[in-house]
């Protein structure tokens, strides 16, 4: 991810009116995606080379490779996620034997790539870390489940389903995990308000946090 230079104008980042009261309706800056060029540096070239060697459809499967802040992110197409994960685990020179977690992210402005699932992989054999990221449309939020590759993804995928509504096909029991079973909506999505329920105390009503005055 590269940062729009025009937005990077100091720690205060004054733009527009510079109003910090929260009433000015300041617009948040947008993230621009770009791909990194070789050489990536560190062990990242080796990982990319080995994956390319082990995985004939590499160019089809990997949308882009991003090296940022000494971390490697492989953007993988949803259709190739399962194969890529299997190759990353099984290839001797890669050997990412642990998936440390699945994290979701919701980018409502990215048309047809609103929902992202981000997998943090660890290779204890080579002492390396990489990250794979998959983007899918909100209208069809399906991803293959990686429970067969890393059994530990089970609860992580349930959490990502619970919080973002990403449906992991092939998951053994994709149910809510943190929220109650009958909870409507997926709380971590950007279109879901924080709080949303009036706080009542002895007749006084405090609006939910998302409706209160905000400082930006």
């Amino acid at each position: 991810m590269s940062h729009d230079k025009t937005l990077n104008n100091g720690a205060f980042g004054v733009s527009g009116t510079g109003d910090t009261s929260g009433y000015g309706g300041l617009v948040k800056s947008k993230v621009k995606l770009g791909s990194s060029e070789r050489p990536f540096g560190s062990y990242f070239d080796e990982v990319a080379d080995e994956l390319e060697r082990a995985f004939p459809e590499f160019n089809d499967a990997i949308e882009k490779v991003i090296v940022d802040r000494d971390e490697l992110t492989l953007h993988v197409k949803a259709a190739h996620l399962f194969e890529t994960a299997t190759k990353l685990r099984d290839t001797e020179t890669l050997r990412f034997e642990q998936c440390m977690g699945v994290s979701g992210a919701h980018y409502p402005e990215e048309k047809n790539r609103e929902l992202h699932a981000i997998y943090h992989l660890l290779s204890m054999t080579h002492n390396r870390r990489i990250r794979i990221e998959v983007s899918i449309p909100d209208a069809n939020p399906h991803l293959p489940s990686l429970v067969e590759v890393w059994a530990g993804c089970n609860w992580n995928e349930r959490e990502t389903f619970d919080m973002f509504g990403i449906i992991f096909d092939g998951h053994p029991a994709l149910t809510r995990i943190l929220m109650p079973d009958d909870w409507p909506g997926h709380p971590q999505r950007k279109d879901y308000p924080l709080g949303g329920i009036d706080v009542e105390y002895k007749g006084a009503v405090v609006p939910p946090p998302s409706d209160r005055r905000e400082y930006r």
Binding site: M1, S2, H3, D4, L7, N8, G10, A11, F12, G13, T20, K28, S29, K30, V31, K32, D68, R69, E71, T73, E97, Q98, C99, M100, G101, S103, G104, A105, H106, I118, H120, L122, M124, N127, R129, R131, W150, A151, G152, C153, N154, W155, N156, E159, R176, I177, L178, M179, P180, P187, Q188, L194, P209, S210, E214, Y215, R216
Partner: protein, 444 residues
């Protein structure tokens, strides 16, 4: 209104009278008789005293043997990750410290390391700040292990180790109080350094405590190591081998009990851990006893690191504990008053009375916060329970776009089924205690 099968109602002149009859015990017994196997599903928790907080275990039993185990979690879900998106980056520390409430400093450290990586100031953090972080984290490891050992023993019926363990924990919490003003959830580690420097004579006080702790640790060691009853309750119980740990993403003492010397402090050092002399403790039994021994022996290693940190701090006396960039450093110049933590009166007098510009800066930085360049990072520390990872996404604003915590308890708890199925119901308590899950971290 539908008819309640257990409470039939009839109308009388005095009003509605309900006859509560209790459960359909007869039909339950008949149904069990009709099936070939005698299976009972039992809910253990979420309010059971020995399931480590609000953990709900759903057990399918065949006599005393557990045939299936499922965990029900989410009873302590507080939406910390969502809340962080509505506060600035510095305020996030106050939230995340409350997740794994037995290891608050590790939550803060992981989060702050992530923010610093996003800001690109990892190398600007002063050495003194890093050493203080290490010191506080290792003290925290002791207090956390003390709860793990004490409550673990208590749950298996041994009362005295708990009394000793909490006595030791109190000593550590006193140090936290001396340094940060708070015993728990202190939000002491901040992006860019730590909230304030150690008070005077802190290292000599810590050295005295170390001496006391070293003697005190022997009490629990004498009580438990080699104790016949303890061995019978923990040896060959809750076994999970290396392959199981790897596929389930298990880290920490559970992984090290399989003989794998994986400790992020050694393998992927942060906060300058490569400059300390300590050993990674392992066991080769893969059982509850092995995990117990690892925690016992890690106490001594933590003491070693604390001693080295104290020596370093004496040399680094006078160095700043925050990055030089005043835009990132929390600007309020905190001082420790008689009532705990507070603003420095001198600083307020200066900005209110002499410098309008300082006042504006102060106001902007406190209300708005600093901007963090867009991007995402994953940073991990070795918490007492394993890899505590934090995934941060910034969109370039003054608040996180997404904060996700990979809490070790969450992943480690997945191994409950693998450890417990096929064992006796009483051994579940020991197995879960050896994972040492903290539900505040699991549910976040």
């Amino acid at each position: 209104m539908t008819q309640d099968p257990y409470a039939s109602a009839r109308e009388t002149t005095e009003g509605t009278v309900y006859s509560v009859t209790g459960g359909d015990w007869d039909s339950v017994v008949t149904e069990i008789g009709a099936t070939k196997e005698e299976r009972v599903v039992v809910n253990m928790g979420p309010q059971h005293p020995s399931t480590h907080g609000v953990l709900r275990l759903i057990l399918e039993l065949e006599g005393e043997t557990v045939t299936e185990t499922r965990c029900g979690i989410g009873y302590l879900h507080t939406g910390i990750e969502k809340n962080c998106e509505y506060r600035n980056w510095t305020q996030g520390v106050t939230f995340v410290t409350r997740m794994d409430y037995l290891a608050p400093l590790f939550n803060e450290a992981a989060y702050c390391l992530g923010v610093e990586k996003l800001l690109g100031i990892t190398n600007d953090v002063t050495e003194r700040a890093s050493v203080i972080r290490v010191l506080m984290m290792e003290l925290n490891r002791i207090s956390s292990h003390m709860v793990a050992l004490g409550t673990g023993a208590l749950e298996l019926g041994a009362l005295s180790p708990m009394i000793f363990a909490f006595r030791e924990r109190e000593l550590v919490l006193d140090i936290f109080e001396m340094v940060s003003g708070l015993r728990m959830n202190m939000a002491y580690i901040r992006p860019g350094g730590v909230a304030q420097d150690l008070p005077e004579h802190a290292t000599s006080k810590i050295r005295e405590t170390i001496k006391e702790l070293r003697i005190n640790f022997k009490d629990n060691a004498k009580l438990l190591i080699g104790n016949t009853i303890w061995l019978k309750r923990t040896k060959d119980i809750g076994i999970l081998d290396l392959a199981g740990c790897t596929t389930l993403g298990i880290t920490g003492p559970v992984l090290r009990a399989t003989g794998m010397p994986w400790d992020l402090r050694k393998t992927q050092p942060y906060c300058g851990y490569e400059n300390y002399d300590f050993d990674v403790i392992t066991a080769d039994t893969s059982d509850v006893y092995g995990r117990f021994l690892i925690r016992m022996n890690e106490l001594e290693q933590s003491l070693r690191i604390i001693e080295q940190a104290c020596d370093k701090l004496d040399v680094l006396e006078g160095q700043p504990v925050m990055v030089a960039d005043k835009k990132i450093a929390w600007p309020s110049q905190l001082t420790l008053g008689g009532d705990g933590i507070g603003n420095s009166l001198d600083h307020i007098r200066k900005i209110m009375g002499t410098s309008m510009e300082s006042l504006i800066h102060h106001f902007k930085l406190v209300t708005e916060g600093f901007r963090v360049p867009a991007g995402q990072v994953y940073s991990a520390v070795e918490s007492p329970r394993g890899e505590l990872g934090v995934h941060l996404i910034s969109d370039g604003g003054t608040r996180p776009y997404r904060v996700h915590f990979r809490d070790p308890s969450f992943n480690n708890l997945q191994s409950t089924a693998a450890m417990c199925e096929g064992s006796q119901i009483a051994d579940i308590v020991g197995a879960v205690a050896s994972i040492d899950p903290v539900m505040g971290g699991v549910d976040r």
